[in-house]
Symmetry: C2
Subunit: 454 residues, 2 copies
């Protein structure tokens, strides 16, 4: 035997044990079912892309977080990389729309649920491998797309049991108008994006450090600051419609009046009123979203005290980088990891999701009973039950009993020596601990009657 | 706009468009459902591992096919790799069993359906990214494990519609006995493994090139050669039981008599007779299986004229390389890609799997009808139908009609100008091309009656 090796997964990655996977599959099942009802179709792309497909799409910070794959064979020694792991699901989608344009409908609505990889410093809730659940529609500029996406995402979260989320809505055009009105440089957005975390004073300090005079930074940040959480002057929470009216007026007043951006946001607001997102959308002019490719509406779902569960927006130019002509597009990415963390902490998973991996454990004593054990397992599986055969029972049944408990089984079927002699099987109800012997031929139907009374 | 970029996926990888994914999910759904009924639980591991976890586990040829990930940040320039993409699902499982031993049951039965990556030269049906569907049980040496695994895999293939597969069964101990009986070196297995492809004369030539004298190579290869396909002297096909009796006797005669290996194979054969693998298992002493970690029974599923759909075996020492003490294990890996290729070529996918991505397309004319279109879509989705809103209808309905046909929709709901005036919706049966106007309030129930008659 070789020396013992490290058994840890790589830094920032996780092994998902059965209970983890059942949680994940519960969430993914809801996501997939809702997206399909909204007319989105599944797409999957390779884990790695040619390196030039990814480089330069995410800004300088993004570039540095991309995992690069070494050339192979004789080129390995060059130390060069020609492939890179997927950093998100949006750039691969843009490439796919360009590559397969003749096969895809002009309006292409796809969902994609796959892992992405970022060489970020791992922290609580931040991993180097994590799943994204994306929906995107390419080929339409209609605000119906934004409304449908927000409706679908809202229905997913509601179905999963979230009752306290809001949808923050802004528009890159409105951000530009506000920056212009206050004479801010473009990188003021980077500072503004941190308003949630570092507060009004923090952002002002950051802006000053970037060379913005204090007397310009002050009014700019206070434009967003006082109403950031929809709190009005009296300290009460504004309703979504009060909040939206307030901000639409205020944005119009600083120069956005009559703009396409303002009109677009008004339309998205009106249309979401007939979707599952009704009453949840709050205009929030401080929402900046990091990625550089957005061109229109931007949105984010936030839960009080938790932060973002996902975000997205319109990006009408990204496909053009691959296709040579622009194709309008809008999408939203749900953060699976954050959703699972919050649902676990809040006990939002149904009991049946987490436990109960099998229904029945069959066990036996002595090689002579092995065939009977396998036969009964086969009969029960044909009846669609989930059945485990415990292959190594000793003289006592404490090992298989312990095993059955760990698997969440409700029934154990036993072929011991007495049972073999009498042509019977013992059936134990693991919940009531009652055990009865039944003729071998009746074993399967008796087990079924225990699992499914009446 | 930047210069147009390449839109190809990386060499040897594929984009899976919606029709592809529906095929893949159909197969994966069957695999998962059957494995669960056999008591296997889901597991997932990270795409990449620390490089030393993978290196040296697959032999020299395997090492060279591993994709390596460059160190990050300041270390990138060193050209060194510290991570590597998963090459199979078995080594990660061995690592997981060692790492999480206190959390896992002593008998751990898991399935894992994830992609693996190998820097092989791409060819027809051979990719650099492909899925494996693995089941493995760790913690038991009982031949019940082999029998249950073969039963589960057989049930999967039968459920998918395969009727012409056989299970080739051999044992590393029997291979060793035959090698010893004919005075062969260990690497004779590498030559023997090609018997299917290069025939008796090819293998003899290969052995001679490896320094085996011709007069030893001849009887060794002919030991396997004449009966390789279960063809008896008269040219007829031997039944599975005739074939097995023939080979068990012949193996006993060359020195395997009374060995643990022969006894183990006899037990696996007897136990599979009460599983879904009954009548399908054929002892085949020429089966070698490439991977070096197998220690006991080895098996492969083959379809005539197609080749292998998957294989596996017992490997009782691999977990020990991580844990420091041996844990017995046995597993099987189904080749998803090959299964899908064969099912596509043979037309084995149900029509419903491939087409029919949505049930209803809702379309409208003019901004005034947008809200009604979205509302009806919401009503239909609440009734669990899959609904698409076509957001950009022009004056005519040819574009949405073409779109609805491409999506496989059966019904189109239309809000035109006339409908808006009259408070109605037009509902078109896309199969019969009949179109009727119904009061707006009855639209959803009328659509449902078309999709689900009576």
């Amino acid at each position: 035997m070789a020396d013992k090796q490290s058994t840890k997964p790589a830094r920032g990655t996780r092994d998902f044990l059965p209970d983890d996977i059942r949680r994940r599959e519960h969430v993914i099942g809801v996501v997939r079912e809702v997206y399909q009802r909204y007319g989105f179709e599944p797409l999957e792309t390779p884990a790695f892309e040619n390196i030039e497909t990814l480089m330069g799409k995410y800004g300088e910070e993004g570039n540095q977080l991309i995992f690069k794959i070494l050339k192979r064979g004789e080129h390995e020694r060059s130390g060069e990389a020609d492939l890179a792991l997927r950093y998100d699901l949006t750039v691969p989608l843009a490439r796919v729309v360009a590559e397969h344009q003749t096969q895809l409908p002009t309006l292409f609505k796809r969902y994609q649920i796959q892992p992405v990889w970022r060489a970020d410093r791992p922290a609580r809730g931040r991993f180097r491998e994590f799943y994204q659940c994306d929906i995107d529609a390419t080929g339409s500029t209609s605000p119906i797309v934004e409304a449908e996406i927000l409706g679908a995402v809202s229905e997913i979260l509601t179905t999963l049991g979230f009752a306290d989320f809001v949808i923050r809505l802004n528009h890159r055009g409105l951000l530009a108008a506000v920056l212009a009105a206050f004479g801010m440089p473009g990188d003021a957005l980077v500072a503004l994006d941190k308003l949630d975390k570092i507060g009004v004073d923090g952002v002002i300090a950051d802006l000053v450090a970037r060379g913005v005079p204090q007397d310009r930074a002050d009014p700019f940040v206070h434009f967003f600051g006082s109403e950031i959480s929809g709190v009005d002057a009296a300290g009460g929470i504004l309703s979504a419609s009060e909040n939206n009216e307030f901000w639409l007026q205020r944005l119009a007043a600083v120069g956005a009046a009559g703009s396409d951006a303002l009109r677009n946001i008004e339309q998205v607001l009106a249309l979401t009123q007939v979707t599952e997102a009704r009453g949840l959308v709050r205009v929030d002019p401080s929402l900046a979203r990091g990625l550089s490719y957005y061109t229109g509406a931007i949105m984010e779902i936030a839960v009080d005290g938790i932060g973002s569960l996902g975000g997205g927006g319109r990006y009408d130019n990204l496909v053009g980088m691959f296709l040579g002509r622009d194709v309008p597009a809008c999408g939203f990415s749900l953060g699976l990891e954050r959703i699972i963390v919050v649902m676990s902490e809040r006990g939002m998973f149904p009991e049946s999701v987490v436990k109960n991996a099998v229904d029945i454990v069959v066990t036996f004593l002595g090689e002579g009973s092995r065939v009977e054990a396998l036969k009964l397992a086969g009969e029960l599986r044909q009846a669609r039950w989930r059945v485990d055969v415990f292959p190594d029972a000793g003289r006592k049944f404490d090992k298989p009993l312990k095993y059955a408990a760990a698997r969440g089984a409700r029934v154990m079927a036993i072929f011991g020596e007495n049972e073999a002699e009498r042509g019977e099987a013992s059936i134990r109800n693991l919940e009531t601990r009652e055990q009865v012997s039944v003729p071998r031929a009746d074993a399967a139907s008796y087990v079924a009657s225990l699992l499914n009374p009446q």
